[in-house]
């Protein structure tokens, strides 16, 4: 065992710890089709649920006739709001402090809203019977525009009639939800009044949808003998779901076991609680049989949580040399029929107040008004921390708009306004303390990597050729330097339904030197089983291959708030490091006993404790593990395990520099991404291969959002993009090649210096693509054009600028 033939570097390599491009252990099952998703779960006597949904966006529900549906052989029950009302379950609380109908209670507020729930012996019978439920609707006027909704006499939420106080303060109108203000309004307006230059623009970030490959679903199974409910589901926050189910159902929390099996992508769509969960639980309690509900693609796109839909009116003030002096933003946020945004409770517009971005802006003001409309509820963080992608898009567009106004190069304008490396920790005007950053280094590296000056020269030449009639293609250079705020969050200001947003890890070392770790987060494709084992491997010196990670079962995993908002590594990852260190501290005492020295005489050496000055005298972690179970050590309990509940002292602030080079055909509106360069600084890097995968996935989702993906409504409130025929998901055909790069600026407060990376590419990618489109048309007079930049809209830009002769 006392192997001294390997160097410390070789021993570290063998651990496959942090920094190793370790292959994903999950992929053994995924690449063989052996994943176990909710829809793979089959229980004896399992029934199936299907919803009757409203074809109207706003209507009174006059009557619901179940007779024809109940007459279908195999139909067990048809639930309506009337059936749920005696249980108090016809409405449920939302994460945003509002309430939401589980089944239509007298009226419907968006197309696709759940009206009745049919339970049958198989999925086909349930679907057929749902079509036989006769619902008599009386159409009401439809409001799909938030600005119109704030002026309209039409009352959407009659249940809130007369309530002038909402969950987040006063309501100004019957369709108004809240006003959220940050920063200094008077000081900002004074700066705007005195500034050399003020650029003003409306920046719209359209409504879109996370659209995970696997839709939302659950299996509820009530065991009437034990009184225990097991709820399998596509939950990004299984513990929070258990608490919510307990609070609304009245079942004791120890009698509820929530299990998130393999999840086929979440991206925020699977954070909230949906009517399907409540109805399935009720149906299982009533029938005593398991009930499965899995939504189809159309249901997913039209009814479960959307993202974005922010109208951001901005003003940015600067000196004539380009030094930014102030930022003002008023956002009108379209929340749909119910306020079901998934944000920490005290942040009704999420962390939108990160909208000063990477820039040293001394004075700023932000106000957000939430509005009810006849659209689906939601407002989730689609591969971003809460409303951070909206904030990043806003500031990165405003910088471009200011550059046009100043007639300045946008790269230089950014450079002269970046927060400098020696200003960290940096206190932003809108209330955040940025932990660390080195923006100038990242920016210079990015500009050099793409040969920025060369690109601008090529662009100038292209414009000449275009004007001379030699080409019909323009060149756009899309710049972005984003700063994120992730890792929610400190319990002092971050909670979901009152539960602090800490996270957790429990590690048990087995006698033979292998281990199992359980965390409060849950992977939906992030590769936790691979990367969290790497953190432990580096911290305690056991090979990652000998460490199992288990998550998603509330009966075994320690309490945690789940995975979204890039919080797994910043919070659960920190808990994992801290739990590991507790184990190492005990291991040091065991090693001291075994080596008959004082613990202070030992030093840690990759995978062992060695006596200081006598490296040949050591005990490996594997030896220590065995001793923990077979030696009677005075003053120490047997065993080797630890648990940590980690309350982060601050958020983490990953950043990056993205540059997109795009060719645009002015006659067809077609675009072609010639180059996409993504430099990410996520602090300490745990697994470079997984980071690269995250960046590829996130940039591809950003491409989708910027260049075509949207949830569009017509004036009747019909969802016009309810299938993948109309809702853009990039395939290999549209997806360009990406060049990834990095700098490393560790977080000073995180135990291993990691900041999180899963969402950076979406946050930074969207403005990079959008800015490329705008940049191509800048010489011809374009200032602002709303996303998504599909071929038709790009063609309209060219047409509007008179470029079609």
């Amino acid at each position: 065992m006392n192997d001294q033939t390997l160097t410390p570097e070789e021993r570290a390599t063998n651990l496959k710890g942090m920094g190793c491009a370790r292959k994903r252990v999950e992929d053994v099952r995924f690449t063989q089709g052996k994943g176990n998703y909710v829809d793979d779960i089959k229980l004896d006597g399992m029934l199936f649920g299907a919803f009757v949904r409203s074809p109207y966006a706003h209507a009174r529900v006059v009557s619901v006739n179940k007779e024809a549906a109940l007459a279908v052989p195999g139909v067990v029950a048809v639930l309506t709001a009337e059936d749920l009302a005696p249980l108090g379950l016809h409405w449920m609380p939302t994460l945003a402090g509002d309430k939401q109908m589980v089944l239509a209670d007298g009226k419907v507020l968006f197309q696709g809203q759940e009206v009745a729930y049919v339970v049958a012996e198989d999925r086909y019978i349930a679907a057929d019977a749902a079509e036989l439920v006769e619902v008599d609707y009386e159409e009401l006027p439809v409001l799909t525009d938030p600005f119109e909704a704030l002026k309209s006499d039409v009352v959407l939420r009659e249940d809130l009639a007369g309530q002038t106080e909402g969950a987040h303060g006063p309501r100004k109108h019957h369709n108004h939800i809240f006003t959220w203000e940050q920063g200094d309004k008077d000081a900002t307006e004074a700066v705007l009044g005195e500034a050399d230059v003020v650029a003003e623009e409306m920046v719209y970030y359209h409504r879109t949808h996370p659209c995970p490959l696997e839709t939302c679903g659950c299996v509820a199974s009530m065991d009437k003998v034990t009184g225990k409910l097991t709820l399998y589901g596509t939950f990004q926050a299984p513990h929070a779901i258990r608490t919510v189910v307990s609070l609304i159902s009245g079942l004791a929390e120890h009698n509820i076991r929530v299990i998130s099996p393999d999840i086929g992508g979440g991206f925020g769509n699977k954070v909230g609680a949906y009517a399907g969960y409540v109805c399935s639980v009720v149906a299982s309690i009533v029938t005593g049989q398991p009930v499965k509900w899995v939504e189809n693609r159309m249901e997913n796109l039209m009814a479960t949580a959307f993202a974005r839909d922010y109208w951001m009116q901005g003003k940015i003030a600067a000196t004539k040399e380009g030094k930014i002096t102030g930022l003002w933003c008023h956002t009108t946020a379209d929340h749909g029929g119910f306020d079901a945004c998934a944000d920490p409770s005290k942040f009704p517009a999420g962390f939108m107040n990160i909208c000063t971005g990477s820039y040293d802006i001394p004075t700023a003001y932000l106000a957000v008004d939430g509005v009810y409309t006849n659209k689906a509820p939601g407002g989730v963080a689609y591969r971003c921390s809460f409303r951070v992608t909206e904030a990043a898009y806003f500031i990165e567009r405003m910088i471009e708009v200011l550059a046009i106004k100043l007639n300045m190069d946008a790269a230089e304008l950014r450079r002269i306004n970046f927060i400098k490396a020696d200003q960290f920790p940096y206190q932003s005007a809108l209330g955040w303390e940025y932990d660390s950053g080195d923006y100038h280094t990242a920016w210079d590296k990015a500009l050099k990597a793409v040969d920025y000056d060369g690109l601008r020269a090529e662009q100038a030449q292209r414009i000449e050729e275009f004007k001379a009639g030699k080409t019909r293609k323009l060149l756009g250079i899309g710049l972005t330097h984003f700063t994120e705020i992730v890792g929610a969050g400190p319990v002092k200001n971050c909670d979901i339904l009152g539960m602090g947003m800490f996270d957790s890890c429990e590690i048990r070392i087995h006698p033979t030197g292998s281990a199992i770790a359980r965390i409060g987060a849950i992977s939906q494709g992030q590769g936790h089983a691979t990367t969290f084992a790497q953190i432990i491997a580096s911290e305690i010196g056991l090979p990652a291959d000998d460490i199992t990670l288990e998550e998603g079962d509330t009966d075994t995993a320690p309490y945690g708030l789940g995975t979204y908002g890039s919080r797994s590594t910043p919070v659960a990852g920190a808990a994992t490091a801290v739990a590991s260190r507790k184990i190492r501290a005990k291991a040091q005492m065991i090693a001291a006993y075994l080596l008959e020295v004082h613990d202070g005489d030992l030093e840690w050496d990759v995978d062992r404790f060695a006596v200081k000055g006598a490296p040949e005298r050591f005990k490996t972690m594997k030896e220590i593990a065995f001793a923990a179970y077979n030696q009677a050590i005075p003053g120490l309990e047997p065993g080797l395990e630890a648990v940590s509940y980690y309350d982060p002292p601050n958020m983490t602030y990953p950043f990056g520099a993205y540059i997109c080079v795009m060719e645009i055909d002015v006659d067809t509106g077609e675009w072609d991404v010639r180059k996409f360069y993504a430099l990410d600084d996520c602090g300490t890097r745990i697994n470079p291969m997984i980071i690269e995968g995250q960046v590829h996935g996130g940039v591809t989702e950003a491409l989708a959002i910027a260049m075509g993906q949207e949830i569009a409504y017509d004036e009747m409130g019909n969802v016009k993009t309810g299938t993948l025929m109309d809702f853009f998901i990039p395939t290999a055909w549209e997806t360009p090649n990406y060049t990834t790069d990095h700098t490393v600026t560790p977080s000073p407060h995180h135990p291993i210096g990691a900041k999180g990376v899963g969402e950076s590419p979406n946050v930074g990618g969207v403005p990079a693509f959008s800015n490329a489109v705008h940049d191509a048309f800048r010489p011809f007079g374009l200032v602002q054009s709303h996303m998504p930049h599909d071929h038709w809209r790009i063609w309209k830009i060219a047409n509007g600028l008179g470029m079609h002769g």
């Binding site: 009757v52 949904r53 074809p55 109207y56 966006a57 197309q111 749902a130 079509e131 036989l132 439920v133 006769e134 619902v135 159309m298 039209m302 017509d714 009747m716 409130g717 019909n718 969802v719 016009k720 309810g722 299938t723 025929m725 109309d726």
Partner: protein
């Protein structure tokens, strides 16, 4: 969605107009029509099975006619409900112009659809609507021409 078309029918205008008001003729011409009842000279009630892409549903509808300027022109408005499949509502302006022994029928219809049928994308709906109206007028032209001859 707007539909416009012009159809030439080999029958005099009064024959065409009479046929347009004959529930039996209409029932035979409307694709998928199962029932058609005339409740009053200006009110019709119908049950029609429609298939649009993957959605097949039975629509119950009511149609009201405005015959103030008949037989030169008349208009109709209606609404049909197809349960889970959605709903449709709209109206049409029809003109009948004599041209020798023949009649030229032109119509402009405006139709709004909601629910599942609307979500399948306007491409599919517009194409189907054109096909259905084409079918209607082909059958209508044939029946009316026969009536005119006999």
């Amino acid at each position: 969605m707007e539909l416009t078309d012009e159809i030439r029918i080999s029958a005099p205008r009064d024959v065409v107009y009479r046929a347009l008001n004959d529930p039996e003729v209409l029932k035979d011409c409307i694709p998928g029509c199962e029932e058609l009842t005339q409740n009053s000279p200006t009110e019709l009630e119908a049950k029609v099975v429609l298939k649009i892409g993957p959605v097949k549903a039975r629509f119950s509808g009511e149609v009201t006619l405005d015959t103030t300027n008949a037989p030169d022109r008349f208009s109709l408005t209606g609404e049909g409900k197809g349960g889970a499949a959605g709903f449709a509502k709209g109206g049409a302006e029809v003109t009948l112009t004599e041209d020798g022994d023949e009649t030229v029928l032109t119509y402009t219809a405006k139709v709004d659809v909601g629910g599942k049928i609307a979500q399948l994308g306007s491409r599919l709906i517009a194409g189907t609507a054109k096909k259905l109206s084409g079918k209607f007028f082909t059958s209508f032209g044939e029946i009316v021409s026969e009536q005119s001859v006999s």
